[in-house]
Symmetry: D3
Subunit: 339 residues, 6 copies
C-alpha cells in the first residue's frame, strides 16, 4: 500500500439532527455529530487505511475541543488544528423521506474558522511530509480571510510539489463576503491537479452552456474544456445523481484523464439512511484510488462510487467504512449478514 499522505483544510461544523425523521418543530432533542467536507475526506481516508491530517480552526471552548476529539477518535492527525476564536459553526439538519426533502439550516457565520487570518498558520511546517492537499469550494466561500488562508496553503503546496485536488461543492448561499465563485475559484483551480464537480456546477462556474446529455459524453466535453483551460489539471471527475425522492437516489460518476473517459456503474440507493457526506465519500474514493490503484481508472471510479453509495447507509457525515468493505461492494460480494 502506498504511504502517500493527504492533508485537508476546511471548516468543521457541529451537526444537529432532528431524531427519528421528525420535523424541526417536533424536535425536543438534536443528535450531535461533527462534519465538514474536508474533515470528512480526512476521516474517510484514515478509516480506509491512509492516515491523514486535517487542518482547521476551532474555538478554544468545550465545544471546539469536543469537535477536535471527534476527529481524533477516527485517528486523524489534528496536531495543527488552531484553537482560537469565538464560536463553532453549526448546522441543523432535518432528514426528509420520499417526497419530503431534507432541510439544512446553516448557522456558521462569524465562526472561529471564518475569522481566522492569513499568517495564523505556518503552512510550510504544516505541509511538511505530506504529498497531497485537498480543498473544496466551501472553504473560500466562508469568508475573505478563509479564501486568503486557502490561497496561502495552495501556493505553499504547489511550491512543495504536492498534488492538489478540489471538489467544487458550490453552495451559493454561503458566498456572502463580496466576491463570487467565478471571480475567485479559477485562480485557485489553476494550481490543481484533480477537479471534481457535478455537471451543473461545472457549467455554471465556467460558463459552459452546451453539454451532451449522457454522462460519458458530458464528462468528455467538460474534461476537455477544463484541461485546456487549466494546464495543471490532469483529471476531471464528473459526479452524477438522479433524485427520485429524498430517500431514493441513483448515483454514478465518470473520470476524464486528458484522453479517455472512464465511466462507473450506476448504483441504486432505494432507502437512503443519510445522504450528507456522500459527495465527500466519492472524493475520498477518487483520492484513494488515484494513489493506491496505480492508474487503474476504471477501478478508481467504481471504488469511488461504491464509497459514495456506502455513505448513504451510515448515519453522520463520515463514511466509516474500510477499504475491504468498499472493495466487497466493487466486487459484488453481497452477503447480507457477516458472521
Amino acid at each position: 500500500m502506498s504511504k502517500k499522505r493527504v492533508i485537508t483544510f476546511g471548516e468543521l461544523l457541529m451537526r444537529l439532527d432532528v431524531p427519528n425523521q421528525a420535523r424541526f418543530e417536533q424536535a425536543n432533542a438534536f443528535k450531535a455529530s461533527y462534519g465538514g467536507t474536508e474533515a470528512n475526506v480526512a476521516v474517510n481516508l484514515t478509516k480506509m487505511g491512509m492516515p491523514s491530517k486535517f487542518v482547521t480552526v476551532l474555538p478554544d471552548n468545550d465545544l471546539g475541543r469536543a469537535a477536535r476529539g471527534h476527529m481524533q477518535k477516527s485517528g486523524v492527525d489534528v496536531s495543527d488544528v488552531l484553537m482560537q476564536g469565538r464560536r463553532l459553526g453549526l448546522y441543523f439538519h432535518e432528514t426528509g423521506t420520499m417526497l419530503r426533502s431534507s432541510n439544512v439550516i446553516y448557522d456558521r457565520e462569524q465562526s472561529a474558522f471564518a475569522e481566522a487570518k492569513p499568517g495564523d498558520f505556518d503552512w510550510k511546517e504544516i505541509l511538511k511530509g505530506y504529498d497531497w492537499l485537498h480543498w473544496s469550494g466551501v472553504t473560500p466561500a466562508v469568508s475573505e480571510q478563509a479564501y486568503n488562508l486557502l490561497l496561502e496553503a495552495i501556493k505553499e503546496a504547489r511550491a512543495l510539489g504536492m498534488t492538489i485536488s478540489v471538489d467544487l461543492n458550490i453552495r451559493k448561499k454561503l458566498w456572502n463576503w463580496g466576491r463570487k465563485p467565478n471571480e475567485v475559484l479559477p485562480e485557485l483551480i489553476e494550481e490543481c491537479d484533480i477537479l471534481l464537480g457535478n455537471e451543473e456546477h461545472i457549467k455554471e462556474l465556467f460558463g459552459i452552456e452546451e453539454c451532451p446529455y449522457d454522462l460519458r459524453s458530458s464528462t468528455a466535453h467538460l474534461g476537455e474544456v477544463l484541461t485546456s483551460r487549466f494546464t495543471n489539471l490532469k483529471n476531471v471527475v464528473v459526479t452524477w445523481r438522479r433524485t427520485i425522492s429524498a430517500s431514493h437516489n441513483k448515483i454514478s460518476a465518470a473520470i476524464f484523464d486528458e484522453h479517455n473517459v472512464y465511466e462507473g456503474r450506476v448504483i441504486d440507493i432505494p432507502d437512503i439512511l443519510d445522504r450528507v457526506g456522500s459527495g465527500d465519500a466519492l472524493t475520498s474514493g477518487i483520492i484513494y484510488g488515484l494513489i493506491q490503484f496505480e492508474h487503474d481508472l476504471y477501478k478508481t471510479i467504481d471504488y469511488a462510487i461504491a464509497c459514495s453509495a456506502m455513505k448513504h447507509t451510515i448515519p453522520g457525515d463520515l463514511n466509516l467504512a474500510t477499504s475491504q468493505e468498499i472493495m466487497a461492494i466493487v466486487d459484488g460480494d453481497n452477503q447480507g449478514v457477516k458472521r
Copy 2:
C-alpha cells in the same frame, strides 16, 4: 389569500405509540402525541396559513391541559375548548411494516368528550366570525350526547350561512351507543355542502350496490347519487388507497362538482413513515383548495393528494407542512435536500 376562517369540532385523543416499530408486548415506553380527525384538520389548515379554531371537550386535569397545549403550539385557537369531565380518550398504536399490519387499540369510552351534553356550548358565540364548519363521522359515533352536540352545531352553522363539510370516516367499532351510521348520518349530511369518503364507506352508508371500477367513473356515479339525494351538497370527494403492504401504499382522489369529475394524480408511497392522519390531511387540502384556489378543482384535488402523501412522511397525526411545501410537490419540484 382568502381570509375565510374554518372551525372544526370533534374529539382529541392522546396517542401512545410503540417506539422503533416494535410490537405492543415489547414496549417499555410509548411515544405520546395528540390527534383526532377534526383536530388534525384545524392544525393542518393553520400550518398552511389559515388560522383555524378547534372546539372540543377535555378533562380539567394535567393530561387535558397538555392536550390543549399541544393544539396551541400549532397556533390553533383553543379559546372555546371546554375543560370538564373525567378522562382523556386514548389510543395505542403499533406501527406495522410490510406484511405486518399496524394495530390500533382504542381506549376512549367514557371520555370527557363522550360525556359532554347539549347546552355545554354556546354555538352562536363560538361560530361567530367563522365561515366554514368541518366535522367527521367519528364525532356522532362517540356517544348519543356527542351526536346531539354536533347536531346543535350544524344547525347553528346552517342558520349562519356557513359552509359545512363532512368526512365520513366510518369506524364501525365506535358506533356502540344504540343508533347506527345510516340512521344518524343522513340527517346531518342534509346540511352539508361538501362530503368526503372512500367508495366503500359511501356505498355502505347509502346502500349503493353497483359502482364502476375506475376512480373517475365511480366518483361520477357516487357524486350524482349523493347530490341528487342531498340537495345542499355541492362537492363529493372520493378518496382512493391501494394497500400494497403496511408500508407501501398508492393514493389518489377525485372530486365531483355537480357536473364534472376532476381526478387527481396517483402518488406512490413506498416507505410509509406514519399513515395516521393522512385522510385528514387530504380533507385539509380540499378545504384549503376550495377556499384558496377559486374553483380550480384540478389544482384542488392535486393539492389535497399532495397533502395526504406528505402526511405519510411525518410522525404523528398532524401534517406539519406549509402550503409552499405542498405546492412544491404539486409542481414536481423535488430537490432531495434543501440547503
Copy 3:
C-alpha cells in the same frame, strides 16, 4: 382574581442541554428547549393564571417558528412577535452536580433579536390594553439596537401609565456593544416602579460599597438608597442565594416598600434538578403577588421564594407550576404524593 395584564420584552433562546448530567465532550445529543428571562416570566405568569404577552424577534425559519410555538404551547400571547432576521440565539448548557459547576456557553451574537432596529415595533399598539411592562438587564446588554428598542418601549409604557418592573440580571460577558451597564441602566431604571436584583449586582451597578451583612438590613439599606435616587421606584426586591454546591443551594429574598422590609423564609434546596430560570420564577412570583395579593408583602415575598424553589425541581427554563401548587408550598402542605 385581578385581571391586570402583563407584557414582557426580551430575547428568546434555544437551550441545548447535555443529557444525563454528562460533560460537553461526552454529548452525542442535546435536549432542546427554549427560554429567556423575559419569556420565562411571561410563561410563568400565564401558567399561574395571568395570561401574558411576550414580545421578541425571531428568525423567520423553522427554528424561529419552533421557538414561537413553544411559547404558544404555554398559552402566551405571541401575536406581536416579529419574524425577521438571520439566526436564533442559542446557549449550550452542561448541568453540574455537587462540586462540579454547571457551564453555559452562549452563542447568541448576531441573533435576530440583537439586530432588530428601533421602529420595528409599534409599541403604542403592542402595549394597548396591558397594565404592566417587565424587562431585564439582559435586553439592553444584547446590542445597541436592543437597548434603543427597549428605551422606546419603556417610554411608551410610562406614557401609558403602566407599571414597569426590572430584574437587573447583570451578565458582564454580554455587554460588548460599547457602553456598560452603569452608563445605560440608570436612565432606564428612572422609569421603573419595581426593581429586583441580588446584593452584589445592586452594589456594583450603583457603586454602593458598604452594606450590612444580613438580608433584612441590606435590603433596608439598598432599598433606601435606590428609592431616594429613583423617584418612581416603589419596591426594591433583594434576592439571596447561598451556593453550598452546584446541586445544593439555599434561597431567600426580601422586599422593601419605601418604609419597611418584608423578609421571606429561607428554603433549602438539597437536590437541584434545574436551577436555570429560578431567578425569573422569583420575579414572576413578585409580579403575581403585587397584583393579586393587594399589598400583602409578606405573602408576596414568600410566594415569590416558593416560585423560585419550585423552579429548581422542573427541567427547562420555565416554572411550569400553578398558583395552587405554589400556595401549597407557602402553606407548608407537603404530601409527597398526590393521588
Copy 4:
C-alpha cells in the same frame, strides 16, 4: 426454607411514567411498566424465593397479554389470570422531587378487572395447594363486583384454613360504587389473620379517635382495639412514614402480636428514586418474615422495613430484590459496590 405458598388477588394496572422527572405537560413519551398492590406482593415474594400466584382479570388484547407477560417474567404463576373484558386499567405518574409532590392520575374505571363478576373464578380450584391469601383495600374499592369476587375468595380461603392478610391501603378517590370502606371492610377483615395499615387509615376506618403519639404506643393501642374486635386477627402491623419532602422520607413500622409490640428501626431515605410500591414491599416483607422467621417478630419487622426501604431505590412498582440483599440491609452490611 418453608415451602408455604402465597396467592394474591387484585387489579394489575399499566403505569405510564413521565421520564426524566419532567412534568405531565412536558412529556412526549411515557415509560410503561405494570403494577398493582397485590401483583407487587406476588412478584416481591417470588423474587425473594417464594414462588407465588397472582390472580386477576385482564383484557384479552395485546395490552392485557403484555401485562400478563410482565408478571410471568418475574416467575409469578399466572395460570389463573382471566383474559376477558374491555380495557386495561391505567395510571399516569409524574415523579416529584423535593417540594414538588409526585402526581398520580388514575384512569382505571370500567377496566376488565372492575367488570368481572362473581362466578368468573373457580376459587376452590384456584386456591388449592396454597397456604396464604393476601388482598388489599384497593380491590373492594374498585367496583361492587370486585368486592363480591373478593368476598367469595376470602370465604373459600377461610373454609380451606388458609392464612389471610390484608393491607388496608385506603384510597378514598376510588370508592365510587356506592358503599364506603367502613361499610364493607369490617366484614372482610373478620376473616383475616394479619392486618397492615398506617395509623391514619386504621383510626379513620374504625373510628378510633385518641391514639398515643409514638409508634410503639400507638401500635399497642391500635393492636389491642383491633384484636378485641376481630377475633381472628393475630397480628396488626402499623406502618409509619415521615414525609420530609417528595424525595426525602423516613420510614418505620411496628408489629403487634396480641401481647407485645415489636418496633422496627427507622430508615432514612434521602434520595427517593421511586416510592410507588414501597408499602407493598413492606407487606411482602411481613408475609415473608412471618412464614420464614418462625415467630422472630423483631427480625420480621426489620426485614419488612428493609424491603420497603429497598423499594425506594428501584424504578417501577416491583421490589426486585432477593432475600439475601434484604438481609444484608438488616445486617448493616453496606459495601457501596459489590464486585
Copy 5:
C-alpha cells in the same frame, strides 16, 4: 388444536444491538435482548398457541436470571433450565442496510452452556410428557460437552418415541472443539424425523455435488438422497433466500415427504427490519404445520414461509406473532391497519 408438546435444547445468548442502524464504532449504547435458535423456536411455538419447554444452561448471576426471565415472559416453560457456570454467551449485532451488510461478533466461548457436562440433565424426567424434540446444528458446534449432552437427549427422546427435528444451521466459525460437522452430525441425524437446511449447507455437509437449479427440483433431489441415507427421516425442508441487499431479500422453501415436493410461494421482503431469527421462524412454522395441519403440506410450507417473512418485520430474535396473524398472511388478508 392438537395438544402435542415441543421441547427444544440449545444455547440462549444475550444479543447486543447497535441502535439506529449505526456502526459499531458509533455505538454509545447497545439494545439488549435474548435469543438463540432453539430458544427462538420454543418462544415462537408458544406465541402461536403451543406452550413449549426450553432447556438450556445459564450462569446463576443477574444476567443469567434476566435471560431466563425473558423466556418466561413469553410463557415458555423454563423449569428445567440449569443455573450454573460462569458466563452468559453474547453476540454483538450491527444492522446493515442496502449494500452495507449486517455484522455479527460472537462472544460465546466458555459460556455456561458450553461448559455443562453430560449428566447435568436428567433427560428422562425432562422429556416426560413431551412429543417432539427440536435441536439445531449450533448446539453440537458449541463444545464437545454440548455435543455429548445433545447426544444423550436425542437418544432418550428416541427411546421415548418422540418426533425429532433438526435445523442444520451450520456456522463454520463455531466448530472449534476438534471435530467437524460432517464427523458429528450424521450420527445425530440418524435419529431425526425432520431435517431443515438450505441447499448450500445440505450439499456441503453430505458431499452432494450436483443439484438442479430450481427449488422444486433441488428439494426433490436432496430429499431423495437424504431419506435414502437416513431411514428415520420423513421430511426434508429446503429453505431458499435471494439476498438482493442487506435490507431486501426474497424467501421461499419447499418440503419433501418421501414422495412429493410441496413448494411454497416466494415472498418479497423489500424493507427488512430484523432478519435474525427468520430461519428459526420458518422452522417453527414447519413444526406448527406438521402438528396442526394434519399432513396438509402445502398449507404447512406456506405457513412456515409466512412465519419467516413476518419475522423480518419484528425487532429481536423472536417471531412475536400469533397463528391468526400468520394465517392472515397465508390468506393474503392485507389491511395495512387493524383498528
Copy 6:
C-alpha cells in the same frame, strides 16, 4: 509546566451500564463506554494537560477498534496498542443508590489482553522518551502472561531510570491464575517509587495487623513499614473512603514521604453520580502533583482528593476535568454556575 511524560499499561474493558439506575433484570439496553484503571490514569493526565501514552492489547475487530478510538478521542497516544487476540474484556455495571449497592459483573476472562505473551511488546522502544511508568494490581491479576508482560515492562523502565508508581487495587476475584497477590506483588513493588492503596489492602497484602485508627497515624505507620521494606519506595499514599451509602461517601487521603505525613481534607460526596474510576482519578492527581507541584505535598494530596471527588460527578470511568477545574475545587471556588 513540566514536560515529563507518563505511560501506563493495563487492560481496557468495555463497560456496559444499566441505564436510569434500573436493575440488571430491567435492562433492555446498556450504555457502552470504555475504561480500565491504567487507561483511566492515562486519559485523566492527558485531559489535565499532560499528554500520556496507554499500552494495551485489544482484539483486531470492530469492538477493539472502537475501544482504541475512545482512547484516541481523549488525545491519549495509542500508537503502541497491540491489535490481536480474540475478545474484548467486558464488565456489566448496575448503579446503586442509598442502601442498594452498585453491582459489577466481570466478563473478562480469555480477553485479548489476558492472552498476550511476553515478547509481544518491544518495551525499550515503547518506553523511549517517557519518564514515568504507572501500573496497578489489576494487571498481574488478569493472567500469568499479563504478570510476565508487566514484569518485563517494569524491569525495562527501571533500567531506563524511569519513575514507577503502583496502585495496589486488589480485586480478589480476579486472581485466578494460580499465584496470589502476596506471592507476586512484592517482587514488582521492589522496583516502585510510589505506592498507593487503602489501609485494608496494604495491611492484608503485607500482613500488617495493628494499625492506628486515624488516617494520619495509620499513614505514618504503613508508610514507615513499607519504605523500610521496599527501598526504592519514596512515597506511600493511603486512600480513605467512608461509605455512608451507595450514593453518599466521604473521601480523603494522606501521603507519606519518608519523613512526614501530609493529610488532605475530607470531601463529602452526598449524591454520587458515578463512583467508578474515582480511585484512578486520585492516582492521576498524585502523579500530576508530584510532577507539577515540585514537592508541595500538601497541594499534591488536596489536588488528588479533589480529582477523586470530581470523578464522582462525571458519568463513565474517566475524570474528564481540566487542571483548572480541579484547582478551583482545591481553592474552594464554588460558583454553582459558570456562564
